[in-house]
Symmetry: C2
Subunit: 357 residues, 2 copies
């Protein structure tokens, strides 16, 4: 048995891949990881090498972002920065829960350098200057509903999510907690420092990263475009053009006011926002569904506002272009190769897909 067969067998025994799948070799011309941004806390006093358990005179490094990057052969000039949502880490973009190639590898195959990050206070970037209590909270069924896999325990008809038990188990193990309070300024500062270091790039955000993604693009001109999968909060509007909050059974969604000159910066770059399937247009008492009804509605107003100010924002509601069954995790759904193609085509249409010299 070859090692590769062994791996495939191991994968199959996990139930991770219903169909045996062959990985095509990939030539990588650079890879590695690093931290970016963050702050340093200092305690007064003098460090004593004989009593180092005293924190006097000692420092603490925290609130940085972490990135693992790979550069494929014949790379395009603009890398992608893949930014996970709430309760997630960079694992979101790696192998899918059913064992297929995630966005990280799919986009390498499409010749993009890929930076997969853990935002400050999450995952491998866990050192936080703010304390946190981390407690196990039984929310798996909430996630199942909120991420629109179905309505627990039923999967949506035609959902783009493998319905095996092993897949759901693996999916739920991608959940990982905050190690400090979620703070849009801290996380956007961290990712802004990251794009400062890596240069011009395209931000790809998911869910909770939507709002801080806009802030990062405002903070740093190295963000040349934003692709946002189901942004979930932080819809920013000019102070005097605020829409009404939107209320539903999942609570009230408040738009966020920002300065005109900040909003104007978002009109200088192309932006595309994708939403998946099974989002109702009418109010419903189903929390997980209604949550996305208001968000999709707010996203429509937001895209209109950007375009009214001369910007270039597109909202793609996938069912409207004939792509059905997508969950909240569009980029790891069973049709994620098609989703990756859509993103790559959009980047090319915007003239940002050139190969590096």
């Amino acid at each position: 048995m070859t090692l590769h067969t062994l791996l495939l067998t191991a994968t199959a025994s996990l139930g991770l891949a219903a169909q045996a799948y062959a990985f095509e070799p990939l030539t990588i011309i650079d890879q590695g990881s690093f931290s970016a941004g963050g702050t340093v806390l200092s305690e007064p006093g003098t460090f004593d090498t004989k009593n180092p358990m005293s924190t006097a005179g000692q420092t603490f490094h925290g609130d940085h972002a972490y990135a693992f990057y790979q550069v494929p052969e014949a790379p395009r000039s603009l890398p992608l920065v893949l930014w996970h949502g709430a309760f997630q880490s960079g694992k979101s973009w790696e192998t899918t829960a059913d064992g297929r190639e995630g966005f990280q590898t799919l986009m390498l195959r499409r010749h993009f350098p890929v930076y997969t990050i853990d935002q400050p206070r999450r995952g491998r970037a866990g050192n936080s200057t703010a304390p946190a209590e981390v407690s196990p909270t039984n929310f798996d069924q909430l996630y199942f509903d909120m991420f629109r896999i179905g309505q627990w325990p039923n999967y949506f008809d035609g959902v783009q999510f493998d319905e095996s038990e092993a897949t759901l188990d693996e999916f739920l193990r991608s959940v990982t907690p905050n190690t400090g309070a979620f703070d849009v300024d801290v996380v956007s500062d961290g990712v802004s420092a990251l794009v400062e270091e890596i240069g011009p790039s395209i931000l790809v955000t998911h869910s909770q990263a939507g709002g801080p993604g806009w802030l990062t693009a405002i903070k740093n001109p190295n963000v040349k475009a934003v692709i946002s999968y189901e942004p979930g909060s932080g819809y920013v509007f000019p102070e005097d053009e605020m829409p009404e909050p939107m209320t539903g059974s999942a609570g009230t969604l408040e738009p966020v006011a920002i300065a005109d000159e900040d909003f104007a910066k978002l009109t200088q770059i192309p932006i595309v926002v994708y939403y998946g399937d099974n989002i109702p247009e009418e109010p419903t008492e189903d929390f997980g569904l209604d949550n996305w009804r208001t968000r999709l509605a707010m996203a429509r107003l937001w895209v209109d506002a950007i375009n009214d100010h001369g910007g270039d924002a597109t909202l793609v509601h996938l069912p409207q272009i004939g792509i059905t069954g997508n969950t909240h995790f569009i980029f790891s759904d069973t049709n994620n190769a098609q989703i990756a193609d859509l993103a790559a085509e959009w980047i090319e249409e915007k003239g940002l897909g050139d190969l590096a010299d």
Copy 2:
């Protein structure tokens, strides 16, 4: 400017690489990530899709390990499982703090499939069934001393660690907290589940992972060898052959009693333990140094015990073979390519380095 030049420039501007360094292309025949092991908590009651913020009837997945893996072209048959120490994640093994290739990539170049893990309750495997309070603790100078980079603020003469500020900043940002109490059984169960899935493999442990590494090898016969860099605790002995605890200025190091039949399992596989430089042989009041004096001394007794029972354990104290200046992070020190060669040669000597069929 090509993208690769751009990356090198970005790297240089970070001060991550004093010398420009060229990454040689690497062909990867498989890569991805997955979770292994762990448990599920369940709350009694019935889940209500209209009230999902109630945890009634909901579950929680936690205590699993996370692994990112890559398989190089012409792979050897036994992969390496790289297991970080305390306050660390898989980042330990990736790019070094001074921007060079870490053990992950160095070992891919030496044709090993490489699994880089976050142990349960750490990093991307953050979901813990036990709660934790995570607070920023100013311990950077403790780490500097304890990891034998020097005695703060002075670097050891000839230390194998780049002395730039940027390198130390990056190094200190690899620190990440536990998201649940450290538990040797939980972490060794997670890694045992991992090697159960990936098949026969070689465990490479660092520091705090030393002790749970032995337990994993006892639990799972898929562990075919262990390479341990400066194991820091959990020296296991047969119940009736326990050495005296060792006391020093960093506290008391207690050996751990295990059943004879468990100890016997450690005599069935080759084991090599490496310790670096600047470890005193005589007691000292310097906490960070004395900590390693007792650990090196205990490791010597431990290796003797394994061999007295017919095992094959080797302790390599690097200065004794002419390799000087190594810190506690031997595998990411400035001489880590030499360290990687030593490990690969040892694996070959033990007849475990064959290529896959």
